[in-house]
């Protein structure tokens, strides 16, 4: 039995509370509907700032969203005409496993500047990473041992490197952690083991979205990438040029 001011006991309670928080289900409308409703209000005439129900109009479909599925299920939101400044015209936004992919007709312009490491990135051993990162992440057996393991952004991401291959493991349920900008072709929905995944076959841009909500990281050019979830952890595998090879690596997670 621990005494109440025993630090180890406090850490266990903290971990239990985090796990409980992750198991709590909160009703949450599809983000694209919220964006539409907010935009409609901003474009409409100015009204008194009091809190009044002004829900998006969706006859016969109110309050029927699935609980807790957000961030796990892929949601394809068509935001036609959405043109962020300095970006190519975006035709669709795909959200899956902590990734927010903006897909336009034209590929994005090549990123400028030197790619920066992730915030707070530091090199550790695999054992240290397992202690520092709360995610129960797995390691692919197919690639052999890695000697380059990095933990970033206060343990929010763990990255494993092999020559020409990079694997990022992260949570990504609550907020997107990576933004990807790409042109055609549209990402391909694939099966990884028994799970759903997405395959981005061509080069594209990737930007890390830091946990504090700032947008200070720069986009960098990314190689073909496979994205999937397994055991409550999201993975992005970057490097293998063919889907079959990427899938073999992904399915060898131990």
């Amino acid at each position: 039995m621990n005494s109440p001011d025993d630090a180890g006991g406090a850490e266990e309670m903290e971990a239990e509370l985090r796990a409980l928080g992750e198991a709590l289900r909160v009703p949450e409308p599809p983000p694209a509907d919220v964006a539409r409703a907010v935009r409609a209000r901003l474009e409409g005439p100015e009204r008194a700032g009091s809190l009044k129900p002004r829900r998006p109009e969706r006859p016969g479909r109110r309050r029927t969203w699935r609980w807790g599925a957000a961030g796990v299920a892929a949601v394809v939101a068509l935001l036609v005409g959405l043109t962020p400044q300095g970006q190519a015209a975006v035709g669709a936004v795909l959200r899956f496993a902590g990734i927010e992919a903006h897909i336009g007709e034209e590929p994005p312009p090549p990123p400028r500047g030197v790619p920066s490491p992730l915030p707070g990135e530091r090199r550790v051993t695999l054992d240290e990473a397992r202690r520092l990162v709360r995610l129960p992440f797995a390691v692919p057996a197919a690639l052999g041992e890695t000697r380059d393991v990095r933990v970033s952004d206060g343990g929010r991401v763990v990255s494993l490197f092999w020559p020409g291959v990079r694997l990022d493991a992260y949570d990504g349920v609550l907020t997107p952690m990576w933004r990807k900008d790409l042109g055609a072709p549209f990402p391909e929905e694939v099966v990884v083991g028994t799970a759903e995944g997405w395959w981005i076959s061509g080069p594209h841009q990737v930007t890390y979205l830091p946990g504090d909500g700032s947008t200070r990281t720069l986009p960098r050019a990314a190689a073909p990438t496979l994205i999937w979830r397994r055991g409550g952890v999201a993975y992005r595998l970057e490097g293998p040029a063919e889907l079959d090879r990427a899938r073999r690596v992904a399915e060898s997670l131990r």
């Binding site: 509370l17 409308p29 983000p31």
Partner: protein, 169 residues
């Protein structure tokens, strides 16, 4: 204006999930959707006064927390933490139904104990662990000094450990 609105839609979609979670966990109940919509509308109107180098997320969540606070005060009752524990995580051991049941029971008791915490300790615990915000973000979202975040979190944790005990499965 149209370009700003289009860019803003990206932010709304990105932070919609965490904003709903914040409103619901801080006690907005059925009105979480209204709180979130209103927060995004206000955030856009105040955006000109927003420092570009500051983080958008805690700033938005502070608006959500303030609106939730106003709402629960206007209702004249304690802001209920009405929540359901969802599916068990996939990592459970399938051939251990008894262990799963005990873990589930402990979770329900822990949630009950969080609900029963004094309001400020509960807010600190919700922000730090349920929303997984850092101490600095929690301070910004709740509008407290950093020291208050630390002490209220500490007191809340101690109370929870006393209530629920520390026997772990």
């Amino acid at each position: 204006m149209a370009g700003d609105l289009a860019a803003y839609e990206v932010l709304v979609t990105r932070y919609s999930a965490v904003a709903h979670r914040t409103a619901a966990l801080l006690g907005a109940g059925d009105e979480a959707e209204d709180v979130v919509q209103e927060a995004f509308v206000r955030a856009f109107r105040y955006l000109s006064g927003f420092r570009r180098d500051a983080a958008f997320k805690p700033w938005l969540l502070r608006i959500v927390a303030n609106l939730t606070h106003d709402l629960t005060r206007s209702r004249g009752r304690r802001n209920d933490l009405v929540l359901k524990i969802g599916v068990e995580p996939e990592t459970r051991v399938p051939d251990d139904p008894e262990g799963v049941a005990i873990a589930g029971d402990r979770r329900a008791r822990l949630l009950e104990a969080v609900r029963a915490l004094p309001e400020r300790e509960r807010q600190a615990v919700v922000c730090r662990y349920f929303l997984q915000l850092s101490e600095a973000e929690t301070a910004e979202v709740l509008g407290w000094p950093l020291g208050s975040v630390k002490s209220r979190t500490f007191r809340g944790l101690a109370r929870l450990r006393k209530e629920v005990g520390h026997e772990l499965s």
